[in-house]
């Protein structure tokens, strides 16, 4: 890894006590967080760490290894750049390659995977009219997620939901009801952000192909005219036997035709459900050019390395470019997902973004 690249650290731990893996044994690290497309729910964050295992130290059956009894299910990984944590997850798979060049490939997932695997039981009657934050707390309790690793905001009151759905589905309901997002942060904090809070997200980075001050250069960009993500009708589904509310932005329908989406959002009040449908029908009703993917190398970016490493899902970035035909374009984006591909001599990053929209409503 070049000297001006962020210093990579991989640490394994149990019960909150971490031990760094020797840097010369780290072959590759791949991290995926968030989502690639704005119209799908967030996926579980994954990390794959490939290590040199010539010593057999990372073979979980090697009783003489110092990692013995650590490389077990539930082991935590903490991946950092310049001591800033960029991923936190739990060991899910361990593939030991016993070939000529022995390696071990460790696959980690974050809390979203845990939530997806945990089925929520029927809710008590006391939970029938609770806020989204309270509902998320209840769900995280069911999934036994640590109380100290939560940041939940959302005052919209929810209805009871059906049984037999996963905790992840219930958390998606919470996010839908508040018109916001739910994700697990790079440090492992389960986070629920309501609609109103999207206006207070920081702009972490400026990307430019013209070398602007305090900007990061990029070497790949995929833009999209935006028609793929046009939705001009939103149906708020509150549950079987209950009123559904739908809103349609007529002007968009005239231009692009009717494009509907359904939100699984058990809002407790008519007003909240109606407003949610109005918001969802409007915010994506206009097609606009957006940056779907941006590729760059965070090496040699100096002080901007800190901003890069601290970039979180839903933070904002600005992308500037000059087209081949000479037009200067500046696009404000929301980070929907990110991918790190780190090898011994390179660090490649892709951001998957959506367009910043200005719309809001009371929920």
């Amino acid at each position: 890894m070049p000297a001006n690249a962020p210093t990579l650290t991989v640490a394994f731990g149990l019960n909150g006590t971490f031990t760094n893996v020797s840097a010369d044994l780290i072959l590759t690290v791949d991290i995926r967080r968030g989502r690639m497309y704005q119209d799908v729910f967030i996926d579980a964050g994954t990390a794959t760490v490939v290590l040199n295992n010539q010593s057999g130290a990372f073979d979980p059956s090697n009783t003489s290894s110092s990692w013995y009894n650590t490389l077990i299910a539930g082991m935590q990984v903490r991946i950092s750049g310049n001591s800033t944590v960029i991923y936190t997850g739990y060991l899910e798979d361990n593939m030991v390659n016993q070939g000529i060049y022995p390696t071990v490939s460790l696959t980690f997932v974050d809390g979203l995977a845990t939530f997806g695997k945990t089925i929520a039981p029927a809710l008590a009657t006391s939970a029938y009219s609770e806020t989204a934050a309270a509902r998320a707390t209840r769900v995280l309790d069911i999934a036994q997620w640590p109380a100290g690793s939560r940041s939940l905001t959302g005052t919209t009151v929810m209805l009871a939901t059906g049984q037999g759905i996963s905790c992840l589905d219930m958390l998606e309901q919470c996010a839908n009801v508040v018109g916001g997002r739910f994700y697990v942060s790079r440090t492992g904090v389960a986070t629920l952000v309501p609609l109103a809070n999207k206006f207070s997200r920081p702009t972490q980075l400026l990307f430019s192909d013209q070398g602007d001050a305090n900007s990061v250069g990029y070497d790949g960009i995929i833009t999209n005219p935006g028609t793929d993500y046009v939705y001009n009708q939103a149906i708020v589904d509150r549950g079987p036997g209950l009123l559904q509310y739908s809103s349609t932005f007529n002007a968009s329908v005239t231009t692009y035709g009717l494009k509907s989406k359904k939100l699984d959002a058990p809002s407790n009040t008519t007003t909240a459900a109606t407003n949610l449908s109005l918001y969802a029908a409007r915010k994506d009703a206009d097609a606009a050019v957006l940056v779907e993917q941006l590729d760059f190398t965070p090496i040699g970016i100096g002080a901007l390395a800190t901003d890069f490493l601290e970039t979180e899902l839903n933070d904002l970035v600005t992308v500037k470019r000059v087209t081949y035909d000479g037009r200067s374009i500046s696009i404000n984006c929301v980070v929907e997902g990110m991918a790190h591909s780190i090898t011994s001599d390179n660090w490649r990053v892709s951001y998957f973004t959506s367009l910043v929209d200005p719309y809001t409503i009371a929920l």
Partner: protein, 401 residues
């Protein structure tokens, strides 16, 4: 804050402008024909209506129960009985009078009867528990009578304890436990106490005492000070006029089994009464020894003597020696006798003990530390009498010649 320029977003609140909104009931799964055709009714509204109806029904049921209870309570067992709607107790009005009872009969079991003879109560077994006579006002209670104040004439408890209206308590064979506090008053009869206090004096089984200051014991012992014995045995001081008899102890003077010890004889010469009117005619008496002790004098009975000889037969005691004994006149030294003594500072006749010692030493009494102290008249007088007898014989002999 990141180094790059921050994006500024101006929020736009979404309104219904340009919007078409609608609401439909989502079908339950599996959907029924009725649910699919329902367009106007709201399941939620129907549920609310059902809940309201259920609440109304519950309210109606409660009201019906209340009415039923009221109706039941309004039914009376007979024309001569009144039933309390809450406690179900009956009140009978008949020839007996007014009877409140809870059992099956107004003439047995627990009841209270009020008629012209008075008021009477009975327990569940039919036993009388209290009565108040209308004619005499006499009241009888088999249970306890409690209250803050009891007023009236005399409180008589089985004749053993009586408190009359003047506050006199007459108790016969009674034992009073606890404290009795009174500002004044008196007792007649005996007070027996095995413990307690009266006016700061602690009462024990055989004594009363006040701390370590004074203790009086049933055997006559009186203690004081640090519980040291002040008196034990019998004392009969006086019997005559108060103040004429007295017992004075000063300084280190003391009384014990060996005598009375006075510390300062020069000040108090009369350590016994010189004014005694009754004296004994017995031969034995008292004297003051040379050491100042009041002692018995020797008696003169033959029962106490042996080797009885004629004085003149003992040359050592030849009474003629007394002819050489100077008879002096002198004054006692200052402060030796009480200044008010009638012979203080006057010349009085007498002997000098040292001269008696030199002439007739058997008649001299000695101080334990200072030699001759006094002369002994019980010795000197017989010797003088022997001398007189001898001279009388010589006179008679001379006269017979």
């Amino acid at each position: 804050m990141p180094l790059c320029p921050q994006i500024t977003i101006t929020p736009i609140t979404v309104t219904t402008s340009g919007m078409t909104t609608a609401s439909v009931i989502a079908a339950n799964a599996p959907a029924t024909t009725e649910q699919l055709t329902t367009t106007s009714a709201s399941a939620a509204a129907a549920l609310a209506a059902a809940n309201a109806a259920q609440a109304d029904a519950a309210t109606a049921l409660s009201a019906a129960n209340t009415a039923y209870t009221t109706a039941i309570n309004s039914l009376q067992p007979s024309a001569y009985a009144i039933q309390n709607p809450t406690t179900k107790q009956l009140t009978a009005i008949d020839a007996t009078g007014l009877t409140v009872y809870s059992g099956a009969s107004s003439t047995s079991g627990a009841r209270v009867v009020l008629n012209s003879t008075g008021l009477a109560g009975f327990n569940s077994g039919g036993t009388a528990t209290f009565s108040v006579s209308a004619s005499t006002g006499a009241a009888v209670f088999s249970g306890d009578v409690t209250g803050a104040t009891i007023t009236g004439g005399t409180l008589n408890i089985a004749g053993n304890a009586i408190i009359n209206s003047s506050g006199y308590l007459t108790a016969t064979g009674a034992t009073i436990t606890g404290s009795i506090t009174a500002t004044s008053g008196s007792f007649t009869g005996n007070i027996y106490a095995s413990g307690g206090t009266i006016g700061g004096f602690t009462i024990a089984s055989n004594y009363i005492y006040s701390g370590s200051s004074l203790g009086i014991y049933s055997d006559g012992t009186i203690t004081g000070g640090n519980s040291s014995t002040l008196f034990y045995g019998y004392a009969n001081i006086g019997g005559g006029t108060a103040g004429s008899e007295r017992l004075i102890v000063t300084g280190n003077s003391s009384f014990d089994g060996t005598g009375i010890f006075l510390n300062n004889l020069t000040t108090y010469t009369h350590f016994f009464s010189p004014y005694a009117t009754n004296v004994t005619a017995a031969a034995n008496g008292y004297r003051v020894s040379s050491s100042g002790r009041l002692t018995y004098t020797t008696a003169s009975s033959q029962r106490y003597k042996h080797d009885i000889v004629d004085l003149v037969s003992i040359s050592e005691y030849n009474p003629k020696k007394l002819l050489n004994l100077p008879v002096r006149a002198f004054r006692y030294n200052e402060n030796y006798v009480t200044p008010t003594d009638e012979r203080a500072e006057v010349l009085i006749p007498g002997f000098i003990a040292e001269e008696v010692d030199a002439i007739y030493p058997i008649a001299c009494d000695y101080s334990e530390t200072q030699g001759p102290e006094s002369w002994n008249d019980r010795i000197l007088l017989p010797a003088m009498l022997a001398l007189i007898q001898e001279q009388e014989k010589r006179i008679q002999t001379l006269e017979g010649k």
